[in-house]
């Protein structure tokens, strides 16, 4: 199983601005100026130098909102959420398969907030006859929300004009589904208007998509249910939007979680890998680098005699092989 992150930002898309790019260039040149003479004279030397830089200088976590692709052993495609990252995903699929080879896409919607749906009108396979889009979700208003988004005056192309075949399927929590060769389960999460996490299993591997979920520390029932849902997962995409102090104070009831709670839940569940996800748009790349370092340190302080948990931070374009 392979998981590819196309959008990892929470709430709304962002991008680097001109000043941030300039500051980054200055920082890199500052480091380069201290290198021994000749190190940057060759292409290999320059590549080695760039690769040695912190991620926040050599890359970016990106700014597209939630969209994650799961590739399994079958021909059909699985996608979690249709945030703005779905645009790049759609283009990649078209580039790979072309318009003449119809594909089936199974989409799993965590909830109906705009940052998780806004990419659908820009998901190019939607407009190509023969393509099939099966939109799964647990909200009774799923179809209405999608249709509303693609209607006047909010969007110029009405949903009725899409040429791909679109189906809506309501899922329930507490039962397992066989979808495109995956065992799929949904879990109710704490979020305004409710959200749902999904667990995908195939060939002994498992991926949990658990974003837009607040983990109340005084809700023992919810805590235990999450550990059960995360149990033994090979990868968990986890809503790590706020530092713990913010999450339980000024941003309590905002419906999001914290890196520390992700580490605690994943360790308790015996998961192998935790991906920090749904990054706060207020966090720049350097802040997200620090958040990752802090999370790894907290994992080492909290692990005790349990197996190590690998903590990573999801970024737009990251592919994880399970």
């Amino acid at each position: 199983m392979q998981v590819r992150f196309w959008g990892t930002r929470g709430s709304l898309p962002i991008s680097l601005n001109a000043d941030q790019v300039r500051q980054r260039l200055l920082s890199v040149l500052e480091i380069a100026a201290r290198l021994p003479a000749g190190q940057l004279d060759t292409a290999a030397g320059r590549a080695e130098f760039v690769d040695s830089l912190p991620f926040a200088l050599r890359g970016t976590y990106g700014g597209q909102t939630s969209c994650v692709e799961i590739q399994g052993s079958g021909p059909e495609h699985l996608i979690c959420d249709l945030g703005s990252g779905a645009r790049d995903l759609g283009h990649a699929k078209l580039a790979c398969f072309g318009p003449g080879a119809p594909q089936t896409y199974h989409v799993f919607i965590s909830h109906l907030h705009w940052d998780h749906l806004m990419g659908l009108p820009f998901f190019s396979p939607l407009y190509i006859p023969g393509n099939r889009l099966v939109i799964h979700g647990c909200h009774a208003e799923l179809e209405a929300a999608v249709r509303l988004q693609m209607s006047a005056p909010g969007f110029p192309v009405d949903f009725s004009l899409v040429q791909g075949q679109v189906e809506f399927r309501l899922l329930e929590t507490g039962r397992a589904y066989d979808i495109a060769g995956f065992r799929v389960e949904a879990m109710l999460q704490i979020h305004g208007g409710d959200s749902y996490g999904y667990r995908f299993e195939q060939d002994g591997k498992s991926f949990v998509y658990a974003t837009d979920s607040e983990h109340k520390l005084d809700r023992e029932d919810h805590w235990a249910a999450c550990i059960d849902f995360f149990r033994g997962a090979d990868l968990i995409a986890f809503d790590a939007m706020y530092p713990l102090a913010e999450m339980v104070s000024v941003k309590a009831d905002w419906g999001h979680s914290s890196n520390m709670i992700g580490v605690e839940l994943a360790l308790a569940a015996g998961a192998r890998r935790l991906a920090l996800f749904h990054h706060d748009p207020l966090n720049d790349d350097a802040s997200l680098d620090r958040l990752l370092a802090d999370s790894r340190r907290f994992e080492s302080l909290s692990r005790q005699r349990r197996p190590p948990l690998e903590v990573i931070s999801a970024y737009d374009g990251l592919t994880v092989e399970l």
Binding site: L217, D218, W223, P243, L244, A245, E246, V248, S249, S258, M260, I261, E264, D294, S295, R297, F298, L301, S302
Partner: protein, 114 residues
């Protein structure tokens, strides 16, 4: 996890020992409550001596935040002093050191709060 009242001329001192985690945070809150009730306007500050605390989880930090709020609402002053280095790190990682007054030593806490 244990709490024990200490003696200090200028503060209500409580020594905390052990781990404050998901399993013990509620007990911690219950044991702390009688001390918190005395943490009000006009009374000496409540200082938690954390030199015996080995670990604090998110649940423990939340319990401390609630305690801090409780004290503030009564007009009292609450601080934590004498961290083990690893516990101090957890306060930094969680950003709780920005929410709860934290001090390296008991003397520093008394100097600031008393």
């Amino acid at each position: 996890m244990e709490l024990e009242a200490g003696i200090h001329p200028k503060a209500n001192l409580v020594m905390v020992r052990g781990r404050i985690d998901h399993g013990s945070s509620m007990t911690f809150s219950e044991l702390l409550h009688p001390h918190l009730e005395k943490c009000k306007k006009g009374n000496p500050p409540l200082i938690l001596d954390f030199s015996g605390v080995e670990y604090v989880s998110s649940a423990g930090l939340r319990a401390l935040m609630i305690a801090t709020r409780f004290a503030r609402n009564q007009g009292g002053r609450l601080g934590i002093a004498g961290f083990q280095p690893l516990v101090r790190e957890v306060f930094g990682i969680s950003r709780f050191d920005l929410v709860i007054p934290c001090f390296d030593t008991l003397e520093a806490a008394v100097g600031e709060l008393a």
